[in-house]
């Protein structure tokens, strides 16, 4: 079974630029999550999708971050404009309804904002 795929793996941008990350969850997983992991900290949930609907986005900075999952499969997370403090690893995870709480994580995208 293929795992969660993310791209790009690394991205360096200047502040005020925009950036987008892509995630392809495990086939058949209805729930998709985006996390932000700042160096030295645990992941923080940004947004949770169930199929193509948002379940929770309470910790998403909506003035600059947006995410979509139009067909209930792939998802994109966008930052516009980026700030220095957005430098982090952005992790995507997915889970199946039958699998309970177990979330499977992708390798992440390391973003550096200069």
């Amino acid at each position: 079974e293929a795992g969660v795929a993310q791209s790009p793996r690394y991205k360096i941008i200047e502040k005020r630029q925009s950036v987008a990350f892509w995630c392809n969850p495990i086939s058949g997983h209805a729930t998709l999550y985006w996390y932000q992991q700042i160096l030295g900290q645990g992941p923080k949930l940004l947004i949770q999708f169930q199929n193509n609907g948002v379940v929770d986005d309470s910790q998403l900075p909506k003035d600059r971050f947006s995410a979509e999952r139009l067909k209930g499969v792939d998802s994109t997370l966008k930052i516009q404009p980026a700030k220095l403090e957005d430098s982090a690893v952005y992790l995507c995870a997915s889970s199946s309804l039958a699998g309970g709480n177990e979330q499977y994580f992708g390798p992440g995208t390391r973003l550096t904002v200069t």
């Binding site: 729930t31 900290q41 645990g42 177990e102 499977y104 390798p107």
Partner: protein
């Protein structure tokens, strides 16, 4: 609000020793706790989970203990191996109706010396 903390940021052990990683949580009890292992450059990997109606759960070389009285969680790794070197996170699900909303602790760096 909910928070998950760890007693020690780093832990060094000799190969073959048993390792114990601790985690404390505040506020109301989570329905569900999970331990994740994160190796450098990779996303978190599920190790073991435990529901709040249990005190102990065992897996292959790992045991999770939950003490709801003192709001404490621990991960025990038996016969620790160099391949166990990684950052270990505990996480709790306080999502309620937002099923799967995990809150992660900061992590403990486990180093296993041959």
């Amino acid at each position: 609000g909910e928070s998950v903390g760890l007693h020690l940021p780093t832990l060094s052990v000799q190969e073959g020793d048993n390792s114990i990683i601790n985690c404390a949580y505040s506020n109301s009890a989570s329905d569900y706790f999970i331990w994740y292992k994160q190796e450098s450059g990779k996303g978190p990997q599920f190790i073991i989970d435990i529901r709040s109606n249990m005190d102990k759960r065992q897996g292959q070389r790992v045991t999770v203990l939950l003490n709801k009285t003192v709001k404490h969680l621990s991960l025990q790794i038996a016969a620790t191996q160099p391949g166990d070197s990684a950052v270990y996170f505990c996480a709790g699900d306080w999502g309620g109706t937002s099923y799967g909303k995990l809150t992660f602790g900061q992590g403990t760096i486990l180093t296993v010396h041959p």
